[in-house]
């Protein structure tokens, strides 16, 4: 499933392998629950240092992409790479910006837009 990394590319081998795992998940080559190759067998197949494989699996575990079950191996958690809070906020900001822009074009004043937002937020969160 994985290609041999190019050792002389200047990009660390662990970065190259990590990208390959991510890519396999993003393109559906690996889906949630799938098991990744064992550390030793992947190291032998790609002829790379086993510590490199360990590093890749550990980092992907920290990023919430893989789960390491001790004694069993590494498994895929999510189909997509989980998004960071910063990315979510950036996307949300973009939506709000467009929405406010639309309301302004419809002729609403700043105060009116603010009152609508505040009312909606108050209503939305009280209902919960």
């Amino acid at each position: 499933m994985f290609r041999k990394p190019n050792p002389s590319s200047g990009v660390p081998i662990y970065v190259q392998l990590k990208e390959q795992v991510r890519h396999a998940i993003e393109t559906g080559g690996l889906t949630a629950g799938d098991q990744l190759p064992g550390i030793r067998s992947l190291a032998e197949t790609l002829v790379i240092n086993p510590n490199t494989v360990i590093k890749v699996y550990r980092e992907l575990e920290q990023e919430g992409v893989l789960e390491i079950r001790h004694g069993l191996g590494a498994f895929v958690i999510s189909r997509r790479r989980s998004r960071s809070k910063a990315e979510e906020m950036r996307d949300a900001q973009h939506l709000v910006h467009e929405f406010v822009d639309t309301l302004k074009k419809q002729g609403l004043e700043e105060g009116e837009i603010r009152r609508l937002f505040e009312a909606e937020i108050a209503g939305e969160f009280q209902r919960r």
Partner: protein
């Protein structure tokens, strides 16, 4: 992590010639550590001192905590360490099968499965006399004897010298598989690409001195080649910044090799009104050539 090999100011003089000059090494358990240097840089002298084959002129060292310069510790070291020498010395009058049988009898932890796998993979004829083996086959046999010993530390001096690409890949694969079982591997080489592939730590020596000692990933992440084009001709002395290992100026174009601090160097180039700045990765081979050339 436990330290397997440690040397402090290890020095070897042959008459007036200093082969090894104040070497401070530290190799961690479970790592695959590459030891790079040109011919005559002091690699073999260092390895021979580690194994107690020659005595240091000054300084000290230990392997698994046993002193390398103490006769009584030597046996303890030899029980835990396998060594494949550069010259691959073997008993010429024995056959392949005989020397395997002979060597096996000394080592209670001998790996029979690995022996069988390697005999087949390396296509070694058990009946053939060692004196009739080709250079490549001798190397493969010497490696088999070292790999199958079941050691905790494997020291290899130029292990792939004289092997074809297929055999080199086989050898690297065994190195990887032994490392996965917890064997620490220390190998000298000047085949830089194979080193980049399997090593997680790199040591470079030049004329008896250590010039680089770093994890492979850090070397790859931090070393960069920077190229900047300036509106006016510039001079080398405009670029005295930490992290710049080397500067070469050709009119308005300047090339740097940086070992760290890349952001500040780029910032500095911008301040000098560089029109275009390219930051490129750099291979271990280029770093090696720079390290060795810089001192020539």
């Amino acid at each position: 992590m436990a330290t397997v090999i440690e040397t402090i100011e290890l020095t070897k003089k042959y008459g007036k010639h200093q082969a090894v000059r104040g070497m401070n090494l530290s190799v961690q358990a479970g790592s695959v550590c590459a030891f790079l240097g040109q011919n005559g840089a002091g690699k073999s002298s260092t390895i021979k001192m580690l194994l107690g084959m020659i005595h240091p002129t000054s300084g000290s060292g230990s392997i698994f905590g046993h002193r390398i310069d103490k006769e009584s510790d030597s046996l303890l070291i030899r029980q835990k360490v396998a060594f494949v020498a550069e010259d691959k010395r073997l008993y010429d009058y024995m056959s392949v099968g005989q020397i395997i049988h002979f060597t096996r009898s000394f080592f209670p932890r001998w790996d029979h499965d690995l022996e069988a796998r390697l005999l087949e993979q390396f296509e070694l004829p058990p009946e053939r006399k060692i004196r009739q083996l080709s250079k490549g086959m001798r190397t493969k046999l010497a490696l088999l004897l070292g790999f199958a010993r079941g050691c905790e530390l494997l020291i290899l001096d130029e292990p792939t010298e004289g092997l074809d690409p297929v055999a080199i890949e086989d050898v690297l694969q065994i190195v990887v598989s032994l490392a996965a079982q917890g064997t620490t591997i220390f190998f000298s080489s000047h085949q830089i690409v194979e080193v980049e592939q399997v090593a997680d730590h790199v040591l470079m020596i030049d004329r008896g001195k250590l010039v680089l000692d770093a994890p492979m990933d850090r070397v790859k992440e931090q070393y960069r080649h920077i190229q900047a084009v300036f509106p006016e001709p510039v001079e080398e002395r405009d670029f005295r910044l930490p992290g710049i290992e080397k500067v070469s100026v050709a009119g308005r174009t300047v090339s740097f090799v940086a070992s760290h601090n890349v952001d500040s160097i780029v910032e500095h180039a911008r301040m000098l009104h560089a029109g275009s700045i390219d930051v490129l990765p750099i291979s271990l081979k280029e770093i090696f050539l720079e390290k060795v050339k810089a001192r020539s």
